[in-house]
């Protein structure tokens, strides 16, 4: 990557739960303070803030910085587009690399209601549906779980994947969650449990879906020089990339099994000398289980059409070739919209994960989203 080397020096979560009934600003403040405490810095050390939040829960970067007491912002940005937390992460990392900010906090607040019944119904219940929904809602294509069912179906068709291959990821992730006190879903599940979970949009099952919650996540980035003076062993960005395809609507992409995940992955690998074989641990977006499988292929950890058997053989588990989503993933941590992967891989690279620590990890890969827009990054232990 060009520019200054970027370090992750602080991570933090707000309180998390179902329908907490608190303002999103409070969650932003909690996550920010947690990340600052983790890094051992104060608001006076920060001069950058990037936040990602989709409409209708848009949160202002400036007002958030004002609230938490950052005295003077050299760089701030509110992003309401693209691949969720990783947008805030990559914008923030690019801003540190370019010298626009020396210490930048990046945030992803997300409310359960954004993605579940009430809000979806409110959007669709309007007599008139604007924009792309004009060509989606009349057919009942309303929730992410709708295109997800169609991605999963096409993936099974092209690659001959079985339901058990997706179930194996759900079961493996829950095994990690059992050992993670911060996970929400911590009861062990079996393949039988997976196959007994109800279909949302067949072949997509309830256990293929992440778990909507109210939460905010925060990470703090700074320069290598500043990082060396802080509390934790720094974790560095080795490479990062966004990727898109055109047409880019989730439903209309040219290839559902090979979506913009490949564009982002190829771009990320082009900016580093490291190779897929160098990666010890991954945090690969699991808004729906098939997305994690697609990233395993796109990032080159196995060949195209091989992620199903790869997961079924246990390779994403603790003793497998590629421990993946070791915090339990968003299916079990709750929908942090990408931030949990950056936080968990950072913690693993620091070596502070206790029961679920994977020994000897030095390189980690993280990713976010699927379809038209995606992003991924490579992180290394300092």
């Amino acid at each position: 990557m060009n520019g200054r080397r970027v370090a992750i020096v602080g991570v933090g979560y707000s309180t998390v739960g179902r329908r907490l009934g608190v303002p999103v600003e409070l969650l932003c403040a909690q996550a920010s303070v947690a990340a600052m405490q983790d890094a051992g810095v104060t608001p006076r050390d920060l001069d950058g803030l990037v936040i990602h939040s989709f409409v209708p829960e848009y949160v202002s970067a400036f007002r958030t910085a004002d609230m938490i007491g950052i005295p003077d912002l050299g760089f701030f940005s509110s992003n309401a587009d693209g691949s969720a937390y990783s947008m805030a992460a990559l914008i923030g990392a690019a801003a540190v690399a370019s010298g626009s900010t020396d210490m930048c906090i990046t945030l992803r607040p997300i409310m359960q209601s954004t993605a579940t019944g009430a809000s979806v119904e409110r959007q669709a219940a309007e007599s008139f549906v604007s924009g792309p929904n004009e060509f989606l809602a009349p057919y009942g294509d309303i929730s992410g779980a709708h295109w997800a069912g169609m991605y999963m179906q096409r993936t099974m068709y092209e690659y001959g994947f079985t339901e058990q291959m997706f179930g194996a990821l759900a079961v493996a992730q829950r095994e990690y969650a059992v050992d993670n006190p911060e996970a929400i879903m911590r009861s062990p599940i079996t393949m039988e449990d997976y196959l007994a979970s109800r279909y949302i949009n067949k072949p997509l099952r309830l256990f293929d879906c992440d778990y909507p919650v109210d939460s905010c996540s925060a990470l703090i980035f700074t320069t290598e020089e500043r990082a060396r003076d802080l509390a934790h062993k720094p974790v560095f960005f080795e490479s990062w990339a966004m990727g898109t395809v055109n047409p880019g609507d989730f439903n209309l992409v040219e290839s559902m099994p090979r979506s913009s995940t490949y564009a982002a992955a190829n771009r990320m690998w082009a900016k580093t000398d490291l190779k897929p074989a160098d990666v010890d641990i991954t945090g690969l977006y699991d808004g729906f289980t098939f997305i994690t499988l697609q990233w395993i292929e796109a990032l080159g950890f196995c060949g195209e059409g091989e992620s199903g058997p790869f997961v079924l053989e246990g390779n994403t588990r603790r003793d497998g070739k590629l421990p993946t989503n070791t915090d339990g993933g968003a299916c079990n941590m709750g929908r942090r919209h990408g931030a949990n992967f950056f936080i968990e891989v950072t913690r693993q690279l620091r070596g502070e994960c206790g029961e679920r620590q994977i020994p000897g990890v030095e390189v980690g890969a993280v990713s976010n989203s699927v379809g038209g827009f995606t992003a991924c990054a490579l992180l290394t232990a300092g």
Binding site: A125, F128, F135, I142, Y199, K202
Partner: protein, 147 residues
């Protein structure tokens, strides 16, 4: 912004006839499927937009298409996310690739087909559902050999 009364029969999420897309719904009312096409490079694009994504021309016109295509993917929608679909689940939500151009896709429903007979790659043809006097949705059904 209030929700429809619970006793009223829910209306479908109606399409909005916007500046670029009004033609689409005017054609469906006449039981025609029309897709936006570039006057200069003759490529189709769906859904309609202000500019050709291939050659940047603003000269775009509706073109009536055959209504035939193949099923790219589908899902059996089991859960209603809107009151209009409460008595319609399970239904088949699908992406169809139209025969006029590789990659020219649209979201639709597959009708007149048993759930277990829906298969990716099967030939399909358009059929029109008149939802109200003013709104007609294009849907697709399997092509029958007899036709």
């Amino acid at each position: 912004m209030s929700a429809p009364p619970s006793t009223a029969k829910p209306r479908p999420p109606f399409p909005q006839s916007e500046y670029y897309s009004a033609f689409f719904w005017e054609h469906t009312k006449r039981h025609e499927l029309a897709i936006q096409r570039c006057d200069r490079c003759h490529r189709y694009q769906h859904w309609p937009t202000p500019v050709c994504r291939h050659c940047s021309s603003f000269d775009l016109s509706p073109a009536v298409v055959s209504g035939r295509g193949t099923l790219y993917t589908y899902t059996i929608a089991m859960q209603s996310f809107h009151p209009y679909f409460d008595d319609k689940v399970p239904f088949v939500l699908a992406v169809v690739e139209l025969e006029e151009q590789p990659g020219l896709k649209m979201v639709t429903n597959i009708v007149e087909c048993a759930e277990d007979e829906v298969t990716i790659g099967m030939p399909v043809e358009v059929v029109f559902e008149d939802v109200t006097d003013d709104v007609t949705f294009p849907q697709f059904r399997p092509v029958r050999d007899a036709s």
